[in-house]
Symmetry: C2
Subunit: 167 residues, 2 copies
C-alpha cells in the first residue's frame, strides 16, 4: 500500500498524524490544516502531499481511535463475566468520547470503513453476551449502545441503570 518513504518523510508523517490527532481531539473536526501543520512543525503543503484532502486526514486519524475501541471490546470479550465486562467497555468508550471533541462527527465520516464494521461486530458480541447473561435488557442493539456513549460519559449511573435488564 504505502511505498517506502524517505526517512525524513516518515518522521514528518508520524508527527503529522500525532498533531492531527491532538488538534482534532482539542478543537473538533473544524481544527484547521494550518494549525495541524504548525503543531507538527511542517509546512501545510506537506499535509496535502500525504492526504488528498483534510477529510482524508481526519478519517485516517479517526480510524485509529476506532481500532483502539475495537481492541478494548475484544479484550472485554475475554473477561469471563459478561455484565461487568460490558460495563467496563462502555465506561472506557465514554472516557474516549469525553477526551475527544471530534469523536462524534469523526465517526460519521468513518461509518463505511471496515474498521467501524469490525467495531460493530465486537460490540454486538459484547452486548448479546451480556443480554444472554441477564445483565442487559433485551431491547437494545449494539448501535443503540454506541449511541448512548455520550450520555454514559456524563451520567454513567443513570444510563447504566437504564441499560440493565428490567425485572
Amino acid at each position: 500500500m504505502t511505498a517506502t518513504l524517505r526517512s525524513d518523510a516518515k518522521r514528518n508523517l508520524d508527527r503529522l498524524l500525532a498533531a492531527a490527532s491532538e488538534c482534532f481531539a482539542e478543537h473538533g473536526v473544524d481544527a484547521s490544516v494550518d494549525e495541524i501543520a504548525r503543531r507538527a512543525g511542517v509546512g501545510h503543503g506537506t499535509v496535502f502531499r500525504r492526504f488528498p484532502t483534510k477529510e482524508a486526514l481526519l478519517v485516517a486519524v479517526m480510524v485509529e481511535r476506532v481500532r483502539d475501541l475495537t481492541r478494548a471490546a475484544e479484550e472485554a470479550l475475554e473477561d469471563p463475566e459478561p455484565g461487568p465486562a460490558f460495563e467496563r467497555f462502555l465506561r472506557r468508550a465514554a472516557e474516549v468520547y469525553a477526551q475527544n471533541r471530534a469523536i462524534v462527527e469523526g465517526f460519521e465520516r468513518c461509518v463505511e470503513t471496515e474498521e467501524v464494521g469490525a467495531l460493530k461486530v465486537a460490540v454486538g458480541r459484547l452486548v448479546r453476551r451480556a443480554q444472554h447473561a441477564g445483565a442487559v435488557r433485551r431491547d437494545v442493539t449494539a448501535e443503540d449502545v454506541m449511541d448512548l456513549v455520550p450520555a454514559v460519559s456524563r451520567h454513567p449511573d443513570v444510563v447504566l441503570d437504564g441499560l440493565r435488564a428490567t425485572r
Copy 2:
C-alpha cells in the same frame, strides 16, 4: 426597550426572526447570515441593523425556544401526578431537541440569560416534586436531567428507566 418601529421594519423583523429560527433549526448555529436574510426576503444589511452580531440574533432566537420549554415545564407542574408530568415534560424537551440542530450550542450561548435561569427553576421544581413522589431517583439534579435530553430523544425507554427511583 425597543423603540417603536416603522411598519415595514416591524414586518421585516418578524420575518427575520422566523427565518433565523428555521435556518438555525435546520443547519445548526453555523447557518449563514446570508441564507437567513435570503429566506426572510431582506438584504443582509438589515440583519445587522437589528442585531449587532450574528451571535446576538442567535441568542434572540434561542431565548424564545427556552421560553417555550419553561412554559411546558410550568404546565407540567400543574398536572397533579408528579411522575408522569415529569416524564411528559422530558419527552417534550426531547422532541424540541430532535427538531432543532442548534439547541445544544444555542443553549450554551444563553446560559447567562434570565430566561435560562427561569427554565432551571421550573425544571428544578418538576424534578424535586417527582423525587418526593418516589418517581425519580434522588441523585439527579435539574441540570443532570437537562443534560440527558439528547439521550432521551434517541433512547427514551433506556434513559427514563434509568431515571426512575431505584428500589
